[in-house]
C-alpha cells in the first residue's frame, strides 16, 4: 500500500464544511476509545454528555452560563489568530481583568449606584485584560520574543499574583481566614434570569461582542489590516501597515475581551475574587478550541462557544453519573482540537491511498 500526499488543486465551501464535520466525528471516535478503555459504553457516554447539556432546561441554562465566557474569550482569540498572533494567554488576561474590576468594586463600589458601578467595573476589566494582552505584543514586535511562550508564561505570573492577593493584602476580613476577598457590594452584582445563573447583561455583552468583532474583521479597515498581516507579513510591511499599532490594538482587544469574561464571572457567579482555578475553570484554554472551531470568525464563536460549553456541562454530568475521572472533559476538548487542526491539513492537501505494489524510489 502506498499513501500519497498531494496539494489540493481547489477547495469549496461545502468541502470545508464536510472536513469540519469529519474532524468532529473523528474526534468523537477517538474519544470513544478512551471511554471504552474505561469500561464505559462510548455511545452511551457521548449521548449522556449531550443529554446532560442540551437535554434538559437545567442543562441548557448551565450550558448558556458557561458559553458566555467562552464566547467572550473565543471571539477575542479568533481576532488575534486571524493575524496569526498566537495568544495562549487568555486565562491570565481573564484573571487580570478580574483583579482590576475587583479593585474598582471594592474601593469605589460602596459609594456608587449600579448603573455607574457595573460599566466602570467592566471598563476596568477590559483595560486590565488589554494591558496584560499588550505586553506580549510589544515584546514580540520590539524584541522578537515568541508570543506563544510569553503569553503562556504570563498565565503563571497572573495566577500566582491572584493567589498572592487573596492570601495577602486583599484577604477579606469577613471571610474567616479563607483565601477570598470580601464580597463585592450589592451594586456590583449582576441580575440573573430567574431559576438560572444566566445574567442577561452578560449574555447581551457576549453575543454583541462576538458580532461586533466579526464585523470588525470583515468590514473595517482595521480588520483588513489584521487579515493582511495574517496572510503575508512581508506584503503587510511593504504596503505600509503599521505593525506596532495594529498588533498592539489587536491584543488590547483580544485581552480586553478575556478581561470582560473575568469580570462577568466575578460579578455574576462568584461575587468575590478567589483562587484562580475556581474563578476560571480553564476557560482561557477551552476558548482556543472555540475560536478554532469557529474557523477564526469571531461571530461564529457564538455557536462553537455553546457547543463547547455543552461538552463542559455534559462532562460534569457524566463525571457524576458514570464515575468518569474529572479529566474526561479536558481529554474530550484536547481530542477535538487535535482533530480540528488535523482537519485543516485536508483543506490544503488531498490524500491518495493505493493498494497493491509499492514503488520504491
Amino acid at each position: 500500500m502506498q499513501i500519497d500526499l498531494l496539494p489540493r488543486e481547489r477547495s469549496t465551501a461545502t468541502l470545508n464544511l464536510l472536513i469540519l464535520l469529519g474532524s468532529l466525528l473523528a474526534g468523537l471516535l477517538a474519544i470513544s476509545v478512551v471511554f471504552a478503555l474505561n469500561g464505559v459504553n462510548p455511545a452511551l457516554a457521548i449521548f449522556s454528555i449531550f443529554k446532560g447539556s442540551f437535554g434538559s432546561w437545567y442543562g441548557i441554562k448551565e450550558t448558556i452560563t458557561k458559553a458566555i465566557p467562552l464566547i467572550l474569550i473565543g471571539s477575542g482569540l479568533a481576532l488575534a489568530y486571524k493575524a496569526k498572533f498566537w495568544n495562549i494567554g487568555a486565562e491570565s488576561q481573564l484573571l487580570v481583568g478580574a483583579i482590576f474590576s475587583t479593585w474598582v468594586g471594592l474601593n469605589w463600589g460602596p459609594h456608587l449606584p449600579a448603573i455607574v458601578l457595573v460599566p466602570l467595573m467592566f471598563l476596568a476589566a477590559f483595560i486590565g485584560g488589554a494591558l496584560w494582552g499588550m505586553v506580549p505584543a510589544v515584546l514580540k514586535i520590539r524584541f522578537g520574543i515568541n508570543e506563544v511562550i510569553s503569553t503562556l508564561m504570563l498565565n503563571y505570573i497572573a495566577a500566582e499574583f491572584v493567589k498572592f492577593l487573596v492570601v495577602g493584602p486583599w484577604k477579606g476580613a469577613s471571610k474567616g481566614g479563607y483565601p477570598y476577598t470580601d464580597d463585592l457590594p450589592a451594586a456590583a452584582i449582576l441580575n440573573q434570569f430567574p431559576y438560572s445563573r444566566i445574567s442577561p447583561v452578560l449574555l447581551i455583552l457576549a453575543v454583541t461582542g462576538a458580532l461586533i468583532l466579526g464585523w470588525l474583521v470583515y468590514r473595517s479597515r482595521f480588520g483588513y489590516e489584521i487579515r493582511v498581516i495574517g496572510e503575508n507579513t512581508y506584503a503587510a510591511k511593504y504596503s505600509g501597515i503599521n505593525f506596532f499599532r495594529t498588533l498592539v490594538v489587536l491584543m488590547a482587544i483580544s485581552g480586553g475581551m478575556a478581561g470582560l469574561a473575568g469580570a462577568g464571572e466575578l460579578m455574576s457567579i462568584h461575587h468575590y475574587l478567589s483562587y484562580p482555578d475556581s474563578l476560571s475553570a480553564g476557560y482561557g484554554f477551552t476558548a482556543i478550541i472555540v475560536a478554532w472551531l469557529a474557523r477564526l470568525n469571531p461571530a461564529y464563536t457564538i455557536v462553537s462557544g455553546l457547543f463547547f460549553a455543552g461538552i463542559v456541562v455534559g462532562g460534569d454530568a457524566i463525571q457524576i453519573s458514570m464515575g468518569m475521572p474529572a479529566a474526561t472533559v479536558d481529554i474530550f476538548n484536547g481530542m477535538i482540537l487535535v482533530f480540528l487542526i488535523m482537519g485543516d491539513f485536508f483543506i490544503s492537501h488531498r490524500v491518495r491511498i493505493r493498494l497493491g505494489r509499492t514503488v520504491d524510489a
Binding site: 502506498q2 500519497d4 498531494l6 496539494p7 488543486e9 481547489r10 468590514r219 473595517s220 479597515r221 482595521f222 483588513y224 489590516e225 487579515r227 493582511v228 496572510e231 503575508n232 512581508y234 506584503a235 510591511k237 511593504y238 504596503s239 505600509g240 503599521n242 491518495r352 493505493r354 514503488v359 520504491d360 524510489a361
Partner: protein, 510 residues
C-alpha cells in the same frame, strides 16, 4: 545548433491523449507528447496554456482524466513524484526546493536510500557526487552550505540532485527566469552536455531566443492543446511567437517620442548596504524627468534590487536623499513611498505585492485601503470598493472569475495586471517597475510594456529595471548601466549600442 539524430528509436516518454480537467476548465485537452533520448525539447506557451499542468502530470503531481503515459515503451501509472523519480524523471522547479542551512551534499542525499539509513552514508555519497560532477562538468563544492551559493549554483545543485537520482529526463520549468546572463550561458552548456550523454531535457520557457538557441525541437501549446511542433532548425522566432499567441506579435513596442518635462525623481548621493552589510549602492545619483522611460540595465546583483527597495520604502540608507515631484521622500517608510505618488511594481510579486489566499479585490485594495475613498472613519466603503474592483478588472482586462475569486486562481500575467491596476490607477508621478515582465508570457509581457509607454505619454517618469536587455533597449529613452552599485555608463535609448552596454555590464569602462 544543429538537430541531433535520436540515439534510440523508442521514445523515452510517450504521453498519449492526455486530458486534465479542473472542474469546468480543461487545462490539457488530448495532448500527445513524445520525447527521445538525448533530445532537448522546448515546451512553449503562454501562461495558462497548460505547460505546467502537463509537466505536473508527468511528474506525478496531478492525476489525469484521460490518456496514457509510457516510459521507454512501457505503460506506467505515475501517482506521485516518487513514481516519477523511480522512472528516471527529475523536475527542477522555478523555486528551488533546497534547505539553505544544509550543505550541497546533504541536500542531494535527502530522500534517497542513502539517507534512509540511521547513519548517513556520506562518504559513499560524496564519491558518487564527485563522479557525477566529473561526468557532466557540473562543479559545485559538496561541502558548501546552500545559502552561500548564487542562484546559478543552486540550480546546479538541483540538477545534480536529479542526476544523483539517476534521472534520464530533466523537466526544467523556466530555468533561466532567475539567472543572470552569464549563468544562462553556463546552464545551456550543461544542458548540451546532458543531451550529448543521452539524457533528455524538457525546457519550459517564454523566451523565444533561448528556445531557438538551446532546443532541438519545439512543442507549442495554446489553450491546453498542442498547436504545432517543429524542429527548431526549421522555424524562427516570428513563427514561434505567432503559434504561441495565435496572432501577430509586435516585435518592438512603439517607443513614442515625448518631450521630457521637468525632473520628477531626483536621487542624490545614495549609499545603501545590502543584507550582508556591504555597500550595494555607492554614492548613486540619478534624475528622471516626466515623460521619459529610464532603463536600468545590469547583471542582477549589482545593486538594482537594493536601490528599488530603498525607493519602495523597505530598506534604509546610509546617506543620500530622494525627491519625488520636488518633495523630499521620507526613506525607510513604505507608506511615505505610496503617498509620494510612486507606483511600486516589485521584483518579487508574490512575496511583496500579493496576498495569494485573499481575493482579487483584497489585492486591489492593498496599500490603497486606507485612503478616504475606500475607508471613512475606519469603516470600509464597500460600494466604492466593489465599483473600483469592477472598473479595474475591466480596464486592465484581468482574467478572473470575479473580484471575489482568490488571487491564487489567477495566472502569473493576470497577477501582474492586478498589481499594475492597483499602482497605476492613481495616476502616479513616478513608476518604478522592477523586472515587470519576468516569467510572464508574450501576451502579458506585451501588455505590460505597452502600459509603461502609456504611463510615460501621460507624463509620469518611468524607471524600468530589468535583466532583459532587449526590454530595456526596446523601451527606454535613456539607459544607465549599473555595475557594483555605481553607474557604469549612460546612453540615449534609441542609439544604444548593444555591445557597449554589454561591456559596461561586465564592468569594462569606456
Amino acid at each position: 545548433m544543429p538537430a541531433k539524430t535520436p540515439v534510440n528509436d523508442t521514445p523515452v516518454i510517450e504521453m498519449r491523449g492526455i486530458t486534465k480537467r479542473f472542474l469546468d476548465n480543461v487545462a490539457n485537452d488530448q495532448i500527445d507528447f513524445t520525447l527521445r533520448a538525448g533530445e532537448i525539447c522546448a515546451l512553449l506557451g503562454e501562461n495558462g496554456a497548460g505547460k505546467t499542468t502537463l509537466m505536473n502530470i508527468l511528474f506525478g503531481y496531478y492525476s489525469f482524466d484521460e490518456g496514457s503515459i509510457a516510459i521507454r515503451g512501457e505503460e506506467v501509472a505515475l501517482a506521485s513524484p516518487k513514481d516519477a523519480i523511480a522512472n528516471g524523471i527529475g523536475m527542477i522547479h522555478q523555486h528551488f526546493t533546497l534547505v539553505p542551512t544544509q550543505t550541497v551534499l546533504e541536500n542531494i542525499v535527502i530522500g534517497t536510500k542513502d539517507e534512509k539509513r540511521f547513519f548517513l552514508n556520506l562518504k559513499g555519497a560524496h564519491k558518487k557526487l564527485l563522479d557525477i560532477q566529473e561526468q557532466f562538468g557540473l562543479h559545485v563544492d559538496p561541502d558548501a552550505r546552500v545559502w552561500t551559493l548564487s542562484i546559478g549554483q543552486q540550480q546546479k545543485v538541483e540538477i545534480l540532485k536529479a542526476l544523483y537520482r539517476n534521472s534520464s529526463v530533466l523537466i526544467m520549468d523556466e530555468p533561466t527566469a532567475v539567472l543572470a546572463p552569464q549563468e544562462t550561458v553556463d546552464l545551456f552548456k550543461t544542458l548540451r552536455v546532458l543531451a550529448e550523454q543521452g539524457r533528455s531535457v524538457i525546457f519550459i520557457s517564454h523566451k523565444l531566443h533561448e528556445v531557438m538557441e538551446i532546443s532541438d525541437r519545439v512543442v507549442v501549446l495554446r489553450n491546453g492543446r498542442v498547436v504545432n511542433q517543429k524542429r527548431t532548425a526549421d522555424t524562427d522566432v516570428k513563427e514561434l511567437a505567432n503559434m504561441m499567441v495565435g496572432r501577430e506579435v509586435l516585435e518592438r513596442i512603439e517607443r513614442k517620442a515625448v518631450e521630457p518635462g521637468e525632473p520628477v525623481l531626483e536621487i542624490s548621493d545614495l549609499t545603501v548596504l545590502n543584507d550582508k552589510g556591504l555597500e550595494a549602492v555607492k554614492k548613486f545619483s540619478l534624475t528622471v524627468r516626466r515623460g521619459e522611460i529610464l532603463g536600468i540595465a545590469g547583471v542582477s546583483g549589482n545593486g538594482q534590487t537594493e536601490l528599488c527597495e530603498v525607493l519602495f520604502g523597505v530598506r534604509n540608507v546610509e546617506t543620500g536623499t530622494v525627491r519625488i515631484g520636488g518633495e523630499p521622500l521620507r526613506l525607510g517608510h513604505p507608506l511615505s513611498s505610496v503617498r509620494s505618488g510612486l507606483a511600486r511594481i516589485p521584483e518579487d510579486r508574490i512575496y511583496m505585492g500579493l496576498l495569494m489566499d485573499m481575493t482579487v479585490e483584497d489585492n486591489l485594495q492593498l496599500e490603497n485601503h486606507w485612503t478616504e475613498r475606500f475607508a471613512k472613519n475606519g469603516l470600509r466603503r464597500f460600494d466604492e470598493i466593489a465599483a473600483n474592483s469592477q472598473t479595474l478588472i475591466t480596464d486592465y482586462s484581468i482574467k478572473t472569475d470575479g473580484k471575489d475569486a482568490p488571487a491564487k486562481s489567477l495566472s502569473g500575467g493576470n497577477l501582474q495586471k492586478v498589481i499594475l491596476a492597483r499602482e497605476l490607477s492613481s495616476e502616479p508621478e513616478v513608476v518604478l517597475a522592477s523586472q515587470p515582465t519576468r516569467g510572464l508570457d508574450v501576451g502579458a509581457t506585451e501588455y505590460i510594456r505597452q502600459r509603461m509607454v502609456e504611463e510615460k505619454v501621460r507624463g509620469a517618469g518611468v524607471v524600468l529595471v530589468s535583466d532583459d536587455l532587449d526590454e530595456v533597449m526596446g523601451l527606454s529613452d535613456r539607459i544607465i548601466v549599473m555595475y557594483e552599485g555605481e553607474i557604469m555608463g549612460e546612453v540615449v535609448g534609441s542609439g544604444a549600442d548593444r555591445e557597449q552596454i554589454g561591456l559596461w555590464m561586465t564592468g569594462v569602462g569606456s
